[in-house]
Structure formats: structure tokens, C-alpha cells
């Protein structure tokens, strides 16, 4: 019975200063989101900007806080496309039917 890599994967992390910068960027982007909520924007545009900011925030968390940046490329190429594909398939159904309903309403 092998130990199957126990103890592997603990790698030197980035410096505390880097983590602080990432955190400040996340707080700043949160502030931008709140600001966007109080300016008159068309809902579709606002949703697109908010989701774009959320994806950037998620990227900062995944790559720096969750250390994916420092993992082997094989893990990134395995995890990210699979997740994006599955969520994309859900969104495909969602958008198709949502636009149909919007057209029916108008």
C-alpha cells in the first residue's frame, strides 16, 4: 500500500506582502461593485460588469490564496476546463430559455 504522495504539495507560498496586495485588490473590487449598484446602468450591462468583476475576484482567490498558481500545470489544465465546461453547459440551457421567455413577454 503506497503512501500516495502524503506530504507532497506543500510548497513555498508567496510573501505576506503579496497576499496583502491581493486582499487589497479584492476589497477595492468589492467597493467598485457597491458603487455600481448606485449608478443607473442598464441591467444587462450591470450584470455583465458585476460577473466580470466576480470572475476576476475568483481568479485572485484561486490563483493566490488557493495556491493554484504554484501547482503543476497538469492540475490547472485538468480542473479549470472541466469546471468551466460544466458551468457553460448549465448556462447554455439557461440563456436559451431565458431569451425565449423574454421574447414571449415582449
Amino acid at each position: 500500500m503506497s503512501d500516495h504522495g502524503a506530504g507532497e504539495g506543500t510548497h513555498p507560498a508567496a510573501s505576506a506582502k503579496t497576499f496583502l496586495w491581493v486582499w487589497l485588490a479584492l476589497v477595492f473590487l468589492t467597493g467598485v461593485e457597491v458603487y455600481l449598484g448606485y449608478i443607473e446602468l442598464e441591467p444587462k450591462l450591470m450584470l455583465s460588469i458585476l460577473m466580470g468583476l466576480s470572475v476576476i475576484k475568483a481568479g485572485l482567490i484561486i490563483f493566490w490564496f488557493m495556491h493554484l498558481k504554484y501547482e503543476k500545470p497538469s492540475l490547472k489544465f485538468w480542473l479549470i476546463p472541466a469546471t468551466v465546461f460544466c458551468i457553460g453547459m448549465m448556462l447554455l440551457v439557461f440563456f436559451w430559455d431565458s431569451f425565449r421567455l423574454a421574447a414571449l413577454r415582449s
Binding site: 507532497e8 495556491h67 430559455d97
Partner: protein, 209 residues
């Protein structure tokens, strides 16, 4: 030469290799995170679908207390991720005392998030929000609001308990730095999910002037 190649192959197929150069616990946590991200995606897409299907979808969140509270909650959760990543770095250095302190700080922020969120829930319930009804519009609002934020809060509560167990075990020398890193992955994922819940549920539902 042939035997060496055969040994390597059988080793891979019997689980003797780690293709991503990480332990099985960490790989397992990544797999859990992928599956859980699909759960939350499905829930948030269902929320968006219900919202688009309802012409009278309510936008009940005023600046104070709802947006102020939810923004503070977001910053608190982000702060907990910062303390957690510091804890993981301290664990990698082998500094057990500092690691436990950072994890305790993370648990404090996590608990603060839950308290603030419960306060927000009670405030909305006082205004008449229920699972199946509300005074503002589509009755589906309560179900999806409590469903999405409730599942997230459950994850935060489980995370606080999980971190408590890990800090205790790591402080006593029973757990390894990898265990701390794995618990950190879970905690950051909980933070990551909120980065989508906050704009979709709160910012997109700010009450009109």
C-alpha cells in the same frame, strides 16, 4: 529495461504515483471543490432563471442596513481568507503556535460573518420575508434568498468547525502542514462562492431610489 517500464506502469495503475504532485487529501479537496462549485452554480443559475421569469421580482435591499451589512460581511470574509493564507504559510514554515493563532483569527472572522448574516436574516424576517411569501413581490424570492444564502452560511459554519478541529490537531502535532493547507482550500472556496452571491443576490437587488 522491459521490467522497469512494466513496474512503472503497474505502479501508476495501482495508485502508487501522484500525477499532480500532491497528496491524496489535497487532490480530494480539489475534487470536492469542483463538485461543490457546480452545486452553487446550479443554485445561482436557478435563482437567475426564477428572477427573469418573474416580472414582479422584488428589490428590497436599502443602503442601510442591508447593503452596509452585506458589504461588511464581504470584507470580513475576505479578511478571514487573508488570515487563513497566513496560517497556511506559517504551517509550511513549521511554526505551530503562529499557525494556530492565524486559524483562530480565521474562525473569529467566520463566526462574525455568521452573526452578521443571522442579524440580516432576522431583520428581513421582521419585515415579513418568509420561505413562501414576502410583502414586496414574487413569492419565490424568499425561497431562493434563504436557499442560496442558507447553503452558503451552512458551508461557513461547517468551515468554522473544521478549522477548530484542524487547529486543535495541528497545535498538538497530530496534523501535518498539508492538513492545514487542505482546510485552507475549503475556506477560500467558501469565500470565493460569496464573491458571486454578494453581487447577484444583494447588489442586483438594491431597492430603487
Amino acid at each position: 529495461m522491459h521490467d522497469v517500464k512494466q513496474d512503472a506502469m503497474s505502479s501508476v495503475w495501482s495508485g502508487g504515483a501522484s500525477p499532480f504532485a500532491m497528496g491524496s487529501k489535497k487532490l480530494g479537496m480539489w475534487l470536492f471543490i469542483v463538485s461543490d462549485s457546480l452545486t452553487f452554480s446550479a443554485l445561482l443559475i436557478a435563482y437567475s432563471y426564477a428572477r427573469l421569469n418573474s416580472p414582479n421580482w422584488p428589490r428590497p435591499f436599502p443602503f442601510s442596513p442591508s447593503i452596509v451589512f452585506s458589504t461588511i460581511m464581504t470584507v470580513v470574509l475576505l479578511a478571514s481568507s487573508l488570515t487563513m493564507v497566513m496560517g497556511v504559510a506559517a504551517a509550511a514554515r513549521g511554526d505551530r503556535g503562529t499557525t494556530v493563532k492565524w486559524i483562530l483569527a480565521t474562525m473569529f472572522f467566520g463566526t462574525t460573518f455568521i452573526v452578521l448574516h443571522m442579524r440580516e436574516w432576522f431583520h428581513l424576517m421582521d419585515e415579513g420575508l418568509r420561505l413562501t411569501s414576502n410583502p414586496w413581490g414574487s413569492p419565490l424570492f424568499g425561497a431562493v434568498f434563504f436557499g442560496v444564502t442558507g447553503l452558503h452560511m451552512t458551508h461557513v459554519a461547517i468551515g468554522v468547525i473544521y478549522l477548530g478541529i484542524v487547529s486543535l490537531g495541528f497545535g498538538r502535532g497530530k496534523f501535518t502542514p498539508e492538513d492545514v493547507e487542505v482546510s485552507g482550500l475549503y475556506w477560500h472556496f467558501v469565500d470565493l462562492v460569496w464573491m458571486f452571491v454578494f453581487p447577484l443576490v444583494y447588489i442586483m437587488s438594491i431597492s430603487p431610489k
